[in-house]
Amino acid sequence: MADLPLLGSLDMARFVARGFLRFDGVVPAEINDQFLTEAGEADYPKPGQKMMRTYGELLHRAQIPEVAAATPLSDAYPEGSAVARLLALPLVKGAIQSLVGAEPVFDHHFLHVTFPPAYYQAGGGEHVSQHTHQDSTIDPTAGFDLQIMYYPHKVTRDMGGTRFIPGTHLRRVSEVALGRYQNIAGQQHMVCEAGTLLFLHNGIWHGGGVNHSDRTRTMFKVRMNPSRPQVRLWDVEPKAQAQRPIFLVKTPQPETVESILMTSEPWFEQDTGRLEFVNRIKLWRHLTGDPTYDADYWMGRLENPARA
């Protein structure tokens, strides 16, 4: 696997800073078609049949295996299945290895389907978007899990798409406790071509959009855990730069790990945006195994031994 395309340091820095990497149209059409066949289509609901029952019947029929949590990912999917083929794509395998190591552990997966208005008219229930949330529960760990969202067909804006807010992944919140926030500056809605993958830090705030189109929208999510410390798993060059000028800057700065880590998001509060920078530095320290790493002097100022 020496020739596996690992992520470079700039992409790793983008993941650390924003909590996602997006790969548009990288899954071949043949695998997308196979996946949609294996997933199946929901029946049009019988009058009076609840939406959740329609959804449950779809999940029951889908040729996607039940898999026990904590199974090695390499054992989770039957050979030749669409998901097994997707996970074997060199780009996918290299990115997974860069983020959670070569032998990740399967956590869970789910087939997310959002239904068009006609299904609600027939089956009842309110046709609304999903509240914004962070998956699982409060996560105080230094590392992260990887969640891959797979879009096997084209997603248009009126189909809703996954909504996510870049840069929210380092906040320690409790699942949907943040559901009150309907809209957040800088939020993105997944509009993409078939075969697109979204690699997410498990902490990123997200939610399913409401589907206003006339067809169902399908997204498959699989979460995986690292099985070894997430230290220097990617193509680590280039190394960290020396400190650069801050605040009073007269010359354009090149794109570096530091420039990426020190880029704000539109929703950043003016004071806590700086704490986001500190937390990005801490995550980069964890991933590089370098407890002295710093960017733009945020930690150097605080860790000055003369002030201890």
Partner: protein
């Protein structure tokens, strides 16, 4: 009478700071705001909401930072609740 509620999250504790997140809840039932329904804030600042007739009824406190947890971040800090009372149809 019915209540419409506007929640603005601002970039700092000042009511004239820029909006970074927002929500609307409509007690009249005439509209159904929901997550992800608008990518542009309804007001640039909290003061702009006041100018449009929204009445502020709650503002987040500014709290000290516990020692050892100074860098921990969770929920948005600068939350302002506004209301409008409207006649029920």
């Amino acid at each position: 009478m019915r209540q419409k509620v506007l929640v603005l999250y601002l970039a700092n504790s000042a009511l004239d700071a820029p909006t970074v997140a927002w929500a609307v809840y409509d007690g009249t039932g005439e509209t159904r705001p929901m997550a992800g329904d608008n990518d542009k804030p309804p007001y640039r600042t909290g003061v702009d909401a006041l100018k449009d007739g929204w009445r502020l009824f709650q503002a987040a406190q500014i709290l000290p930072h516990h020692r050892g947890e100074e860098f921990d971040l969770a929920y948005l800090k600068y939350e302002f609740f506004f209301e409008k009372l409207v006649e029920a149809a």
